[in-house]
Symmetry: C2
Subunit: 148 residues, 2 copies
């Protein structure tokens, strides 16, 4: 278990936190480990549950605090994907969008450069200096269309 935390220390997120002057504590490493392990689009509660498996005394407040730091550093962002909880999405290294299935909740990542230039163009035309944007497309996924 200590082993897994040490593994997280070598990740890109840990490096970014360290660069920004944040201490690399075990609770934070546990959160980073969970996120880098593929748990994208996770609610704070889900990250907390998974984090407890590698660091049992992890507190929920620390999960929220760590997710806030990642957001502040531009490494993640909150998304509202249908349910009440705000889910956090890692940027990995590029901004991406989501297709959200209304029926089964499936979230499909889409990486579409074209859209970025469209939004920039719209914003620019209105004198608005765009810093980022947020897009979700909702509907019914392929599997749910056939199985009904």
């Amino acid at each position: 278990m200590e082993q897994t935390l040490e593994h997280a220390r070598g990740g890109a997120l840990a490096a970014a936190l360290h660069r920004a002057g944040y201490k690399l504590t075990n609770p934070r490493l546990a959160v980073l480990y969970v996120l880098e392990g593929g748990m994208c689009h996770a609610s704070p509660q889900e990250v907390y549950a998974a984090g407890c498996a590698v660091y049992p005394t992890l507190g929920l407040a620390t999960v929220y605090r760590t997710l806030d730091i990642l957001t502040e550093l531009g490494l993640a962002r909150p998304s509202y994907l249908g349910d009440a909880a705000q889910r956090f999405t890692l940027h990995h290294d590029h901004h991406h969008y989501h297709l959200v299935c209304d029926a089964c909740g499936l979230i499909t990542d889409v990486d579409e450069e074209a859209l970025g230039s469209v939004t920039d163009e719209i914003a620019g035309r209105l004198g608005f200096r765009a810093r980022g944007h947020y897009l979700e497309i909702y509907g019914v996924c392929q599997r749910c269309q056939s199985s009904n």
Copy 2:
């Protein structure tokens, strides 16, 4: 005051509710009156406060329930525009997007047909049947750029 409620009865929203089989009660008419009076992007709390002015015994729960009905009927949708509360946006008759200013909170409506076809195309390519989408662009508005 009774007069204002009667006025709301003649609106497009009231017609849609009636068509869907909902009763046109005074509390509902008060909410519709507020929304049609230009209070777009309003949080449930704000709708409640404004609604009390025309119908003093209005309850907050009824505001939530009425907004839910409008959402269900496709006449409005929730948006998360920076602050914690979910704000409701009337569709009027066309889907629109938002430019949200990080500095002053100004929300600018954008009606851009081009974007709809882009998102439909993306969804279609992935076998996804799009029902709608949700876009916010955030950054700094023109006024906040010059006054700093």
